[in-house]
C-alpha cells in the first residue's frame, strides 16, 4: 500500500516537473534531420517526444543542462524519468506491471534482463536485431555482446558497454612500505599482508587496532567473488565433467568460504562485513582504520582524495593478478554489457515510432553526443589536451550536471569511434586503468550468460538467496561443511536441479 502511494506521488511530481521542463523549450530545432538518420528524413513540424527511464546514481536529480543540449541537437523533446539506483528494479517491475514503461527503458544489469526474459519472449518488447544495420552508429555494437543479451537468439536490446573486469586490490602503499611488504602476487602473500597489517601496527599509533581488509554486504561486487576467482572458482556456472554446474558446487567455492572464515576468525576483516554498507566500508578505508579494499580498481580515483584529506602522508596503490588456483591467475568478468536498453510495445505503438526512437538512440551513440553525455561540455566539465579529456576537478558540478547522464550511454569506448580517452592526472588511477585492460587476458567468463532456464527465470533469484544466506552463515561459523551441503541439497530440491538440467539442455543446443 505504502509503495503505491509513494509511486503515485512520484508520478505526480514527475508529471509536474516534466510540464515545467517543457515550458522553456519552444524552438523545435531542425538539426536532428541533418544527422542523417534514415527515419527522420521528412520534415516534421512537431519534434518527436522520447520518454526514457534511467537509473540515477547520484543522490540528487540532475540539472537539465545536458538534457536541453540533447533536445537541441537531436530535434526531439525528452521526457526523462530518473529513478534512484536503490529502487530501480522495483520501479521497472511496477511500471511494467501497470503498463507504464516509457519508450526507452534502461534495465539495470544482466540479472534484470534475465527477469524480463519471459516478457520479452511473450512479445512485450520490440525485436530490434534486424533493424540495427540501418543505423550507422548502432550497427557498430559488438555482435558477440549483443548475442549475450539475446533471447531465443533474437536481439531485443541495445547495451551500455562496461569494462569486462575491473576487479582488483586497492591498498595503502605507505603501510606496506613501512613493513617492507611488496604488492601481493599470490593468495599466501595477500594473507600475509593482512596479517602484518593487523599485528605490526602499520598506522604507527602504538595500538593493535587496525582492520586489515574492509568488505561489505555484497558477495559479488565486494571481496568474495574476486577472491573466489583467485582461487579458481568458475564465474556463476562452470563445467564439471562436461556438464554445467553452479559455482557453489565446486570445491573452490568452499575454499573461498573457508578462507573468509579464517579471515573473520583472525580479525583480518571487519567483523560486521555481512551487514556493512558500501559507504561504511569505504569509510573504514578512508579514515585509515583499514588498509586493503577489494573491488573495482577504478574506485581509487574517488578514494584517493578522501584518504589524503584524512592523512596527507597516505599513499595508495592498486594490484591485480593474484595467483591462488592451479590454473594461475584468473578474474571473473561481466558479459560485456552493463545496462541494457529495451523498447516496450506498450509505449511504442508502431514500427514507424520505433524507428524514430532508434534514430534517437543512434544519435546518442554518435561521437558528438556520446562524448557529451559521458564527459559533458568542453571548457565547463572537462578540458581537452592532446585529444584526451581532463575532467573538471569540481566533482560537485559534474555530479550534478554530467554524471547522471552517463547512465544513458549507448555503447562505449570500444564501439564509439572518436570517444575521448581520459588523461589521468593521478598516476595510480592511470595504473588502475592499465590493470583493468590487463585483466582482459585472464577472464573467467560466465558460460550461462546467454543460456536460458525457465525455472531460473521464475525462482532463480529467490533460490540464490538461500545460497547467499548459507554462504554468510558458513563464513561466520554458524554452519559447517555439512550444513552448507544441506543448504545446497535444499537448493537442488527446491528447483535447483531443474535449473541445472534446463541450463544443460540449453548449453548443449548452443554448442
Amino acid at each position: 500500500m505504502k509503495k503505491n502511494k509513494a509511486s503515485t506521488i512520484l508520478a505526480i511530481v514527475t508529471a509536474l516537473s516534466v510540464l515545467a521542463g517543457c515550458g522553456g523549450n519552444s524552438a523545435p530545432a531542425a538539426t536532428g534531420s541533418s544527422n542523417g538518420s534514415p527515419a527522420q528524413g521528412e520534415n516534421k513540424s512537431e519534434p518527436v517526444t522520447i520518454s526514457i527511464m534511467a537509473n540515477l546514481h547520484t543522490p540528487e536529480v540532475p540539472s537539465d543542462m545536458i538534457e536541453k543540449l540533447l533536445e537541441e541537437k537531436t530535434g526531439t523533446k525528452l521526457d526523462i524519468q530518473w529513478v534512484p539506483d536503490g529502487t530501480y528494479d522495483e520501479k521497472v517491475n511496477a511500471s511494467f506491471a501497470t503498463g507504464t514503461l516509457p519508450q526507452v527503458t534502461y534495465l539495470k544489469n544482466a540479472a534484470s534482463l534475465v527477469n524480463m526474459r519471459d516478457a520479452i519472449r511473450n512479445g512485450q518488447f520490440w525485436e530490434i536485431g534486424p533493424l540495427l544495420g540501418q543505423y550507422p552508429n548502432l550497427s557498430k555494437l559488438k555482435p558477440e555482446v549483443l548475442k549475450n543479451t539475446a533471447v531465443d537468439g533474437k536481439i531485443y536490446a541495445l547495451y551500455r558497454e562496461v569494462p569486462l573486469s575491473r576487479q582488483g586490490i586497492i591498498y595503502r602503499k605507505d603501510w606496506a612500505d613501512k613493513l617492507g611488504l611488496s604488492a601481493p602476487t599470490n593468495v599466501d602473500e595477500f594473507y600475509n599482508m593482512l596479517k602484518q597489517f593487523k599485528e605490526k601496527d602499520p598506522d604507527g599509533n602504538g595500538k593493535e587496532d587496525t582492520i586489515p581488509l574492509t568488505d561489505r554486504n555484497d558477495l559479488i561486487y565486494g571481496a568474495f567473488k574476486t577472491i573466489s576467482s583467485w582461487l579458481g572458482t568458475p564465474n556463476n556456472w562452470g563445467e564439471k565433467d562436461g556438464k554445467l554446474a553452479p559455482e557453489f558446487m565446486f570445491p573452490e567455492y568452499m575454499e573461498t568460504m573457508k578462507f573468509f572464515k579464517k579471515l573473520h576468525q583472525e580479525g583480518l576483516i571487519n567483523q560486521d562485513f555481512p551487514v556493512t554498507s558500501k559507504t561504511d566500508q569505504q569509510n573504514l578505508f578512508i579514515t585509515g582504520k583499514s588498509g586493503v579494499y577489494i573491488g573495482a580498481m577504478g574506485d581509487v580515483s574517488s578514494l584517493h582524495p578522501k584518504v589524503v584529506e584524512v592523512n596527507p602522508d597516505a599513499e595508495l596503490d592498486v594490484q591485480n593478478k593474484i595467483e591462488g588456483g592451479p590454473n594461475g591467475f584468473g578474474i571473473w568478468s561481466v558479459p560485456g554489457y552493463g545496462s541494457v536498453i529495451l523498447f516496450p510495445k506498450t509505449a511504442i505503438k508502431s514500427e514507424e515510432e520505433l524507428k524514430d526512437v532508434l534514430a534517437f538512440m543512434d544519435q546518442l551513440m554518435s561521437p558528438e553526443l556520446g562524448n557529451l553525455i559521458y564527459w559533458g561540455v568542453e571548457g565547463q566539465h572537462h578540458k581537452l589536451e592532446e585529444g584526451k579529456v581532463i575532467p573538471s576537478e569540481d566533482t560537485k558540478l559534474t555530479d550534478r550536471e554530467v554524471k547522471p547522464y552517463q547512465a544513458m550511454q549507448v555503447g562505449g569506448p570500444l564501439t564509439i569511434e572518436g570517444f575521448y580517452e581520459p588523461k589521468h592526472m593521478l598516476p595510480v588511477k592511470a595504473k588502475s586503468e592499465e590493470m583493468i585492460t590487463e585483466n582482459n587476458d585472464y577472464l573467467i567468463e560466465d558460460p550461462s550468460a546467454s543460456l536460458d532456464s525457465k525455472t531460473f527465470n521464475e525462482k532463480g533469484v529467490q533460490l540464490q538467496e538461500m545460497i547467499k544466506d548459507g554462504t554468510y552463515q558458513f563464513m561466520l561459523g554458524d554452519i559447517d561443511e555439512a550444513g552448507f551441503q544441506a543448504v545446497v541439497d535444499n537448493w537442488l530440491k527446491s528447483g535447483g536441479q531443474q535449473i541445472i538440467d534446463e541450463f544443460n539442455v540449453s548449453y548443449e543446443s548452443s554448442k
Binding site: G99, A119, N122, K289, Q462, D469
Partner: protein
Amino acid sequence: MNKGAPKIPESGRMRRIIKNRAIYLMILPGFLYFLIFKYIPMSGLIIAFQDYQAYLGVTGSPWVGLKHFERLFTEPMFFTILGNTLLLFFLNLAFYFPVPIILALMLNEVRREVFKRFIQTLVYIPHFMSWVIIVSISFVMLSMDRGIINELLVMAGFEKINFLMSSEWFRPMYVMQIIWREAGWGTIIYLAAMAAIDPGLYEASRIDGASRFRQMWHITLPSIRSVIVVLLILKIGDVLELGFEHIYLLLNSMNRNVAEIFDTYVYTAGLKQGQFSFSTAVGFFKSLIGLILVMLANWLAKKAGEEGIY
C-alpha cells in the same frame, strides 16, 4: 405489523434523505475516499487467483484457482514466516503495549506543568525519526568492530556480543527499538483520556486518605480502561503490520530464520522478482489472519463488558 413499524416506504426513505441532504453530503467525501482508495483497490486481489501477466492484464491472465495459496502453504519457509510474524506481534503486544500506559501514568503524576511539557516533548521526538535513522544509530552503537556497546562490554571484562547478526538478539533489538521510538508518542491518547477524568474523584479520595498510588490504581486506571481496550483492539487490527521498513532494515542472512515476516517475504518475492500473483496471495492470507484476530478481540472485549469498536 403495527403502525410506525421501522419499515419506511421507498418514497419515505428518499424524502428523509432529501431532508437530511446536508448530512449525507458531509458523509460523501469520506464515503468516496473509502470507495476509491480502499475498496476499489481490493478488486486487485483477484490476481491472487490468476497467473497474472502484466501484458495480458487482469482480464486476459489465466485463472489458476488456489495454486498460489498451495505454493505458499507448501513453501519450506511458510511455518517459519507465520511463526515469526505471530511471535513478533505477541512480543510487541506484551512488551511494547503497556509501556505508553505506564509512561502516561507517570507523566500524569508530574504536577509541575512546565516540567511535564518538557518531558513530553522529549519523549515525542524519537517518533519523528525514520527507521533508517534509528536502525543506523543502533548499527553504529552495536557494531562488533567499533560499536560503543561492545567496547564497553570488553572494558567491563565481557565477550563481545554479535547483536546485529545473530538470531538470539534480533527480537530484543526489535522490541527495544519500537519502545524507544514509539513509547512517548503512544502516551498522547492516554494523557488526553486522563485529562478528562473528573478532578472531584481525586479530591474525594484524598479526603478518604488515599495515597497517590491508590488514586492511580483506583481512579486513573479504571477511567482509561475503555481507551485501553479500544487501542488494544486497534493494535490487534494492525497485527501483521509489524513495520516492514523496520524489519527489512534489520534483516540479514544471519537472522533470517527469526526475522523474515510476511511483509518482507512479499517484498522479496513480489516486487524484487516480479511474482505479483504469488505475493498478492501472501498478502491476502496475511490480511485474513488480521481480520480473524480483530473479530476475536472485539468479541472478547464485548464479553468483558466493554463496548468494542463495532
